[in-house]
Symmetry: C2
Subunit: 289 residues, 2 copies
Amino acid sequence: MPINAQILDNPKSDRVRRIADLARAKGRERSGRFLIEGPQAVREAVTWRPDVVQDLYVEVSQALEHPRIISSTLEKIVDKSQDATIYVHQCTGEVIRHISKDAQGILAVGNARAMHTDVEDVELQENPQIAAFWQVRDPGNAGTVIRAADAAGCDAVIFVDDCVDQLNPKVIRSTVGSLFHIPVLQMGTEEFFSWAADQHVDVWAADVYGTKERKPESLPQVLADTAAVASGKAVLFGNEARGLEPEILEQCQRIISIPLYGKAESLNLGTSAAVMLMSLAMSGHIETM
Amino acid sequence: MPINAQILDNPKSDRVRRIADLARAKGRERSGRFLIEGPQAVREAVTWRPDVVQDLYVEVSQALEHPRIISSTLEKIVDKSQDATIYVHQCTGEVIRHISKDAQGILAVGNARAMHTDVEDVELQENPQIAAFWQVRDPGNAGTVIRAADAAGCDAVIFVDDCVDQLNPKVIRSTVGSLFHIPVLQMGTEEFFSWAADQHVDVWAADVYGTKERKPESLPQVLADTAAVASGKAVLFGNEARGLEPEILEQCQRIISIPLYGKAESLNLGTSAAVMLMSLAMSGHIETM
């Protein structure tokens, strides 16, 4: 698709200002667009979700007679984008850096509505593996857990209740492209539990403390239970600071904690999600290898 | 032990300048001391390694007739420190914040030499589990992997070849206290392999690619092998960007990779270490539960 011949060289232009504004929630709301920064995220977006990407902004050098994209890595991404209807805009380094410090020469603008996944649109496999997160507030954590769910081959990620905006640029950077690999849904707490019931998937709480009545089971015991490992489930992780509330734990079919063998008192949310989702995935794959 | 009655209130004093200087490698070299920031790290240092802690700096409020430590959390840490020979200095908030933005009201100064673990001093259990890291350069990663090794109940951490200084404040913050739970050794590459041979522990490389002659084994296969899981071993992880070099892989008894089940291309070093060390630890504990 078209490469615009004109080189954007004015960091103070209205267009540049509007794009830079997508780093803020208000800018994204106003325009219905969002920002994808850096070669890795842009490459994954162009490869897996070209329907979402509207415009590509790439840094060119004007040292020679004709403007040239500054590296072969970026050239390949631009080539790839030509298979889809993506407009490519050549920019000076100053313009790119003005939009984002994390661009490393390339940026894309995506359509937020196209990125939105409706619960009805998600096709689940038999015995689906879902990663769910309740009230994740930190963008870096949100990105890390999406990446872990992708690595573990989960069918979908669900952000439950009031979570950080998945189109926050820091979330997208932290997913290292995984946001474009796996559907990410938003649901309220009640909606989540009734959806899980409709889909006949159990909800497993990842929680250290459990409730008064129910102490958590230890993850290694659960990993040894091949039927449980193979069953369809949504593993629900709590807020970074507060974990899961008792009323939520009561609605979960199982409560499972990661054992700590040394003197460490805890693992952070991203590490907990990676350890639990990956160890369940690996246990599920031992027999089929 | 003594609580100094005088309140440090001059952020420009020589003492304050010298402490703040411990954030830099040169300041640590010059003085042989290092900085421990924030309630969690200071509490763990005072609890597990009181021999290392020399001075405690705590924020007091002067709003009442007598100066008061600003919170009960900090008071408990100071109380705990009184069991050991640790000097406590009361400071204004301005002084504390001048030394470190990450202090949250409390700082400690430790003795670098006391913190140094000699290889001869480490007493290994039968079938020890060691976590080793070659050329880790990022302080956040170094802290995260020490925390993961602690959580997995490893006997020791070994930083091999040219790694980030473990007494860098960002490393200490990222360990969330684990630096004071588990011995952390430094070795050259040759020294590491000959030490492992002397101890009769195999070295397992955590590596995605392997060498031309040797493709990596998949972690779930290894987890299913109870004898291997129970055996003494040092799991060696590579540099964040370059992994492990072929000459190093050739010296390892096994090469093991973490499988990726989705479309994610990689896991970062901290996540890889947590997934591999924790899944080995959990597999080793299934039978004994």
